[in-house]
Symmetry: C2
Subunit: 503 residues, 2 copies
């Protein structure tokens, strides 16, 4: 470090909304990401790693789902590069890459990406300004088979990381069906003579209001949506929310769409055909859902894993075709002690305008993004991750001058693949060494004083068992499983391994 | 994406000095990092992952080795956090963490960290503004055993990632020895009556000039350093560089230090004792080197892997005790076709002021940083990495309506652990499908038209062999190893596996 100037000491803190990850948190995420990458690669997806910094121009000035230019990202100006920003997702960089290398990449281009993204948003409990995403996308295929593949891969991935079948459900909807519903609504709109005849069946501004209302279906349910699409509604606080002002016969197709899920795919699709009426795009959307469902069924992905569900509304505003959402269906206990479903851990869909911003040419694309932290939290809730790693075997230092002997011990242990370290603090106070081993979650402490060295033995202290003893193992049980044993120095590795196997 | 406004199309480019990594580049780095992490963990080091963004206050406003405040980092101001910046290394965040969690972390704290860092410097060929670092540090141990451990771990790590013994050398020097040399120089300075007597033996400003000159030893050699420490020197361009102005008897200890490497450690240390004269700190530094060398020798790390070498000057200005450097000793051919040694891939040392900035308390620390990209380049130069991954098996689409059949094929292949994908582009032009398979580096293409489906067979096209054929395999060889075979549909997986094993 350079020389210190006289100035107040800096605060040892992360910036607001950022955090550090230690030990098992890092390991568990890496194991999970590696497993996800394995499944993605098996499906033919290739890794892509872009840098954290992009030009604001290339990123676009908006977040998905959020319509506020320039907000939500960390951006700054550089003399030689203009405005740059930290990426807020992995899709915007993919769009840039797909445009930049369009002549070199295979088409279709299947790629996956995993890494941190940054959001300049108000942090909250469990919401941080840097977090991991893990995406897979297929760029350049308009085929519903590409959507089906993403859904199948998502199901396989969830099972591969440890979510058993029955504990998750991938649900599929289609923006085109919603567009069809809107066309149906518009076609039944009261005739107007305000504009030219070809615009009489357009919804105009009402369309945005309808989309916003549909987005509330999860929260307010069918009755609430009916009120909000019609005359309006009193919310929980008693305030009155203005309605969209549709006639009841216009509201019907929208509600039919949102509640069209039947006992099986066939029933659901039949309900959807009703909701879209004679709309061409609606018909096309249902056909796509039918193809996706048929492909998945042929591959053995039944409705216990993946199903068509028109009540999935998240992302319908953002995507242009099929949308997917993976939900975990098991119950957890929330912070207030109430049972609730774990909820969504991944989402995605088709967005055919990806590259168009750059090249003017529409390129079909479909993909999925896994919420890495959500999925890790789910695995912890299921007891699949301990949040703890076994620490290293700690070789204590009884005699400062015999450091080479202790180093030889850890060397032998490591050669056998056992994590091991010599205590490197001040060895004077032996109690501190055992406290250290405890803090390290060490399973075994190795002790060799001068006397033991002369006799060619070492003491092994089973710290896992020691902890159990401290928790009330009886004296008899203790006698059977001694927490500290003396073994021959020559048997060090074998005896330590025995203790590790026992724990 | 939100609606498009009328505006010129954005450029599909990374900001200056940033780049993208595709396929094998990402895989190979991940494999190497995982292997490094495995060795670090075996030595008892725990992972730590801090975020990319730190407060400028916590980071400190300077790079290691670089004395220009505020330059060299990407920094910007946030309303709620003040000035923040992207981390420029992994040591500054470690200092912040060691101070912030000082009551919770074990002491000593062994941690490793791997991830991108950002430097706002002029990019050049092969020099990017975002790159990976991979560090291991021990915080809280003043013992030379901690330094020895870092060196041993570095040697093990290099071998684990594929640098064979004999192709690398970890060299150790000590800043304290240099301090001792400087004391020796000062003690022999001509008596001065400019200041109070107790300052007569201080070098004052000359010390910085001496350090800068020593840093040039690698470039200008012994004769050059002699001139630069003395009256001055003409450089290659003919320009005259002013010298430090030392007397010849003052220059002697410095040159003795730089050239003190003997035929073995004992000789080297003996030379160093001469260079430091009666300096206490110099004596202490040599004692540390002696202890480190003894510990390493006891663990079997001989001078073929790790040696004391006082000509290592990189980082001597930055560190406060032992410094380490890992060099790859094999020759490569540089861009001008000349053979040269590959050079340094890792460096580190002891820096005891790490946490002091935050807490006022000095905490001893020692560590090493591996240059991930340099090491990857070395492995490529040694032919250990191909830079290519085998692509997936591509199942072509002869009949759009039989997509489910093709999906079933890839499903079976994946279940056997074979990367496989269905062609998802427009299947109309079969030639395009084979071109695609080629671009994907696919080893095998699977083909099944309606006729083959009826007969219960598939065609397998060996694309690796096909490429060899195109390169001039004779017709007879071709007949022996047909590049395309018809096999029973039931044998698909087994026959593909056979082809993969053959390639």
């Amino acid at each position: 470090m350079a020389k210190q100037k006289k100035q107040p000491r800096p605060k040892a803190e992360t910036p607001k909304g950022f955090r550090d990850y230690f030990g098992a948190e890092v390991d568990e995420r890496n194991v999970m990401l590696a497993e996800i990458a394995r499944v993605y690669a098996l499906y033919g997806f290739d890794p892509l790693e872009t840098s954290g910094v992009e030009t604001v121009e290339a990123l676009g000035k908006f977040l998905p789902d959020v319509d506020r230019p320039n907000e939500g990202v960390f951006a700054w100006e550089e003399d030689d590069s203009g405005w740059v920003a930290l990426r807020y997702d992995l899709t915007a960089p993919l769009a840039r890459v797909a445009a930049q290398y369009r002549n070199d990449l295979p088409s279709p281009y299947r790629r996956y990406a995993m890494g941190p993204v940054w959001r300049n948003e108000k942090p909250g409990p469990g919401r941080f300004r840097q977090f991991y995403q893990c995406d897979a996308d297929t760029v350049g295929s308009a085929s519903p088979a590409a959507d089906a593949e993403i859904c199948a891969m998502l199901a396989d991935t969830l099972e591969a990381v440890g979510i058993p079948r029955g504990d998750y459900l991938v649900r599929i909807n289609n923006r085109k069906v919603l567009n069809g519903v809107l066309e149906n609504v518009a076609a039944s709109a009261p005739a107007s003579s305000d504009g030219p005849p070809e615009q009489w069946d357009r919804l105009g501004e009402q369309e945005d209001a309808i989309l916003r209302t549909i987005d509330k279906f999860d929260k307010v349910g069918e009755a609430g949506v009916r009120e909000l699409l019609g005359a309006g509604r009193k919310d929980a606080s008693g305030a009155f929310i203005d309605g969209v002002g549709l006639e009841h016969y216009q509201i019907e197709p929208i509600v039919l769409f949102l509640t069209s899920k039947g006992g099986n795919t066939k029933e659901t699709l039949a309900n959807l055909y009703q909701a879209v009426g004679s709309s061409e795009v609606g018909y096309q959307g249902i056909q796509e859902l039918e193809q996706i469902a048929a492909l998945l069924a042929a591959q053995g992905y039944g409705p216990d894993r993946i199903e068509v569900d028109p009540s999935v509304v998240r992302g319908l505003g953002y995507y242009t075709g099929p949308v997917f959402e993976a939900e975990l269906t098991f119950e957890i206990t929330d912070e207030k002690g109430r049972p609730r479903q774990f909820g969504s851990v991944a989402g995605g869909g088709r967005y055919d305008d990806l590259v168009k911003r750059f090249t003017g040419q529409a390129v079909p694309a479909t993909g999925v993004s896994i919420g890495v932290d959500r999925l890790l939290a789910a695995l912890r809730a299921k007891g699949r991750l301990s949040g703890e790693t076994r620490g290293p075997v700690v070789v204590t230092v009884m005699d400062r001058d015999r450091m080479a002997d202790y180093q030889a011990m850890v060397g032998e242990l490591r050669s056998a693949g056992i994590r091991a370290e010599v205590y490197l603090g001040n060895p004077k106070n032996f109690g501190n060494q055992l406290k250290y081993a405890d803090k390290r979650a060490s399973p075994v402490a190795v002790i060799q004083g001068g006397d033991e060295a002369e006799r060619g033995v070492v003491q092994l202290k089973d710290l896992v068992l020691g902890a159990k003893l401290a928790e009330g193992l009886t004296r008899e049980e203790w006698a059977e499983q001694p927490a500290q044993v003396e073994v021959s120095r020559a048997d060090l590795v074998a005896e330590v391994q025995k203790m590790l196997d026992r724990d």
